[in-house]
């Protein structure tokens, strides 16, 4: 079978688990009494929702990195742009309930003496428009960026570093107070979404459910792509880009499609993330965030989609937990986790599954073949 169907066993289990969580978590939060052992607290719902968004982001990164060999150190930018699009919608929803009571201008604009809404804020009071922008803004940026970069055959670390430069530049830009996006403080203090109060349990539950659906949807889209022949070409591009060209494939187009799609998924993840954590600010553009995303993928298992999602979950849950129980030493724990995973789980956490199930099927000699390919300089 070698995984050519859209749904292999691993994928099915993954989807079932995510969907089950999507239903059960909000349900137990809303329906059960807090004393019940199965009660999911108000604190956990948005937290888990956040993880789901991260997982979607990781899946998006894995599509381009794991399958297409494009190591993006700038996916945080697409995530953040999607987040900003959503944040702008949520800001507009505040209406006259801001501290200055201005019906049109968000608070930060009032105290920066804006007289009217900047043009790029227009339309964001309509949800459909905002939702469209969630897809279009990261998509368009990615398309533009990819169009140039892939056509110029920028590859390897060069591509990685310019993606980093991109997100870094955006970060600096969004930090600027004059950009009209709230500067360092970003957008926050949201009131409601689609007319529902954002802090209500039901809204939280709905957002959680939406995140689960988005994750499953994103997974299915990516999975559909990678098992198709298109996906095989992507892998070919990853391993021997120029050889693929000699077979007549327009490599740039293949990359561009995956790249743009991935950026849009990242945008969706960002858009769902914002209402659940309640803030979007330029820190999301920080290169370190993008690097971390890549690390989730690596921890989970690059090139496996499910692994990427799993990695995002594990690392972030670890972070939440460590920062709570080991506030002074959690970086040791997290750092050690990364080192240990690299050294002992070369194929990530998901590789563990593969190893175990393989070992159960056929015992193999204790010989471990050493790294095969001669290392090429940094690429």
């Amino acid at each position: 079978m070698n995984g050519s169907g859209i749904l292999d066993r691993r994928g099915t289990i993954f989807i079932v688990l995510v969907l089950a969580a999507g239903v059960l978590v909000p349900a137990s939060n809303l329906l059960l009494s807090p004393s019940s052992p199965f009660y999911v607290s108000d604190y956990l719902v948005p937290l888990l929702g956040k993880y789901l968004c991260y997982a979607l982001l990781a899946v998006a990164v894995d599509l381009v990195w794991g399958y297409c060999g494009v190591l993006s150190l700038g996916h945080g930018a697409f995530f953040a742009l999607g987040g900003y699009a959503m944040g702008m919608y949520l800001m507009r929803q505040i209406g006259a309930r801001g501290v200055y009571g201005n019906p049109v201008l968000p608070d930060f604009m009032v105290f920066l003496n804006y007289k009217e809404l900047p043009w790029f804020w227009l339309g964001f009071n309509h949800f459909p428009f905002a939702a469209l922008m969630v897809l279009l803004v990261p998509g368009a940026l990615a398309f533009l960026f990819g169009w140039f970069a892939f056509r110029s055959r920028v590859t390897g670390v060069y591509l990685s570093i310019i993606t980093q430069a991109m997100t870094f530049a955006l970060m600096l830009a969004f930090f600027r107070n004059d950009m009209g996006f709230g500067g360092n403080n970003g957008l926050t203090d949201f009131k409601d979404i689609l007319g529902f109060p954002i802090t209500a349990g039901t809204t939280r539950g709905a957002l959680f459910f939406a995140s689960a659906i988005a994750l499953v949807g994103g997974y299915l889209i990516c999975r559909g792509l990678v098992v198709s022949k298109y996906g095989k070409v992507l892998v070919a591009v990853r391993d021997a880009e120029s050889r693929t060209r000699f077979l007549g494939y327009k490599v740039a187009n293949y990359k561009l499609l995956a790249w743009t799609l991935s950026a849009m998924l990242a945008g969706v993840a960002g858009a769902l993330y914002v209402p659940q954590v309640g803030i979007i600010n330029p820190g999301e553009f920080a290169p370190a965030n993008s690097i971390e995303t890549v690390i989730w993928v690596a921890v989970g298992g690059r090139g496996t989609l499910v692994g990427a999602a799993l990695g995002a979950l594990v690392v972030n849950a670890g972070k939440t937990w460590f920062t709570g129980v080991l506030p002074e030493a959690w970086l040791f724990a997290l750092g050690a986790l990364f080192v240990v995973v690299t050294l002992f789980l070369p194929r990530g956490i998901i590789g563990l599954w593969g190893d175990v199930s393989e070992r159960l099927r056929k015992p193999k000699p204790d010989q471990v073949p050493e790294a095969e390919a001669p290392a090429k300089a940094a690429e």
Binding site: K364, P365, P369, P374
Partner: protein, 231 residues
């Protein structure tokens, strides 16, 4: 000199070499023959230490080198010309040759004249990067590089691949010259049968990871060999 006994080698679960034994002596050329994919390259890589083995032993000059690291084996004098050339692409031709100095004492750190006699093209391209050379030039470089180390055992994996006929003849002459000097043992994998037949003092013939025939030069003309080399 070199003694390989009952070698077993796996790729993952695939049992690729089964109890392969081989001997090479000073002043002789030992040929390893066999069709594509029977395990010739795997055998050579095990000898130079690039592949871990699961069973069997390798000794060199009476010393057990089964568990020795690649570079220590090289330091003992095992020179290797791999299949696929593996020149250092970004080093110049000169630098490629100089990597052979690693095991040499200070006074020996020069490129022996025979290298340039054998492959004059290398001399004219000393400053060019290895990766820029043509395929055949790279192959010549790979052989020359191995000779720089003044090996006591020279392990050659299809050295004539991609080389123009005249130079193949030269290489043949060179190998017999080296053999006749008497201070070097040579293990040669070769598909080009004529070439092998002319040089081989002894041979082993492999089939699916096993040695199915062995003998001296005269054995090469046997029908068995011809049949087994056929498709």
């Amino acid at each position: 000199m070199l003694k390989v006994e009952n070698l077993d080698l796996y790729y993952g679960a695939a049992h690729t070499l089964r109890k392969v034994s081989l001997e090479a002596t000073k002043g002789q050329v030992t040929c390893v023959l066999g069709r594509n994919g029977v395990g010739k390259t795997s055998l050579l890589r095990a000898i130079v230490g690039q592949r871990p083995i699961a069973g069997g032993s390798i000794s060199y000059n009476g010393q057990d080198i089964t568990r020795m690291r690649t570079y220590d084996r090289a330091a003992l004098g095992i020179g290797f010309v791999p299949q696929g050339r593996e020149v250092f692409p970004l080093l110049t031709v000169k630098e490629n040759l100089e990597t052979g100095y690693a095991r040499l004492a200070g006074k020996d750190k020069y490129v022996p004249d025979e290298v340039f006699e054998l492959f004059p093209v290398l001399k004219s391209m000393l400053g060019r990067r290895g990766g820029d050379l043509s395929g055949g030039q790279q192959q010549q470089l790979a052989i020359g590089r191995a000779l720089v180390t003044r090996p006591g055992l020279l392990v050659l994996d299809e050295p004539t691949e991609g080389i123009q006929p005249s130079i193949i003849k030269d290489i043949g002459r060179a190998i017999s010259y080296l053999r006749d000097k008497g201070d070097m043992a040579i293990v040669l994998v070769e598909q080009y049968f004529e070439f092998a037949r002319e040089l081989a003092d002894s041979f082993i013939l492999m089939e699916r990871g096993e040695v199915v025939a062995r003998g001296d030069r005269s054995g090469l003309d046997g029908d068995d060999v011809r049949r087994l080399m056929a498709i």
